[in-house]
Symmetry: C2
Subunit: 159 residues, 2 copies
Amino acid sequence: MSNQISFQSAIKSRNLRMTNQRRQVLRVLEESDEHLDAEAIYDLVRKQNPRISLATVYRTLALFKELGLVNEHKLGEDHSHFETAQEEPHYHFTCLSCRKIIEFSAPEIEETLLPRIAKQGLEINEVHLIISGYCADCQANLIEGKKQCSSPRPIHNQN
Amino acid sequence: MSNQISFQSAIKSRNLRMTNQRRQVLRVLEESDEHLDAEAIYDLVRKQNPRISLATVYRTLALFKELGLVNEHKLGEDHSHFETAQEEPHYHFTCLSCRKIIEFSAPEIEETLLPRIAKQGLEINEVHLIISGYCADCQANLIEGKKQCSSPRPIHNQN
DNA sequence: TTGATAATGCGAATTATTATCAATAAGAAA
DNA sequence: TTTCTTATTGATAATAATTCGCATTATCAA
Ligand SMILES: [Mn+2]
Ligand SMILES: [Mn+2]
Ligand SMILES: [Zn+2]
Ligand SMILES: [Zn+2]
């Protein structure tokens, strides 16, 4: 089922309204293959709708998370990143130098770990696995003393 | 090797100084079997040293993290929790109702997942696995409509 | 003991996110 | 269509965790 469809059905169930802002935030998330943070989403939506408020972006993301359309990830930085809910479960590696995010799957988690946890009587809602370290590029660059990755993604808050 | 010992040797290497505040923070962390946040550590140290500053607690925790004496965990709340570095790797389940933290081991991570990641050319520094959901107690309580766990731990910031 | 300077305490600053609230707009009903 | 109810928005203030700046203090090597 596509995200638009489950959004529509969610709207019908609760007394929600379909607004331009919600459509725009959802579109930006769907058209991006990256893990965007609120500020990045805000900037992208503003290209189409310069009047949108950052507060609306945050409210919309919180709503989408509740509806299960979007997942929030705390990847070790001081702010969250968002992506549309995916079919297959996956996890995240983040490079401490260039902040690149690499997704990976881990079937041993779904197949053996989670069942074992559930058997302990715990009800599982979310599973977040974050591995941090250095990507191949940054390892090479750091070794040759550059102390900078080839493609560093700037830290958000120093601006 | 005990934490005090590696603290001593770390102090010798860099030009660090052994202060009462550092001793006190380390002792509080070692004497607790919980995952304390900065505020809780602050409160515990203040019992012995009412003059310590919260900023010093944060600075000390950052230092201990650098030295590998202490690990920081973001468990889904808006602040960090800390524990002394453990021998065996372990991961964390957090109850969304009572905020209880349950540790668990996952040898499939160290034995098969991490080697697979490393083979991709990624250098691994930290591994954080957080599973959130409802503990057995809270499941029971929530079913009988109490909407409250038997032993809820208050959220920090509503005070 | 003394001197250099690492570390502290205090308060201000920062940053991500949330709350307030008057103004707006979605959409059901008339 | 027009009207009406109220969910949603935009603008901005408030919050909360953490960090910074700096004068003062304490550590420790000489
Ligand atoms: Mn992802
Ligand atoms: Mn632990
Ligand atoms: Zn990198
Ligand atoms: Zn619980």
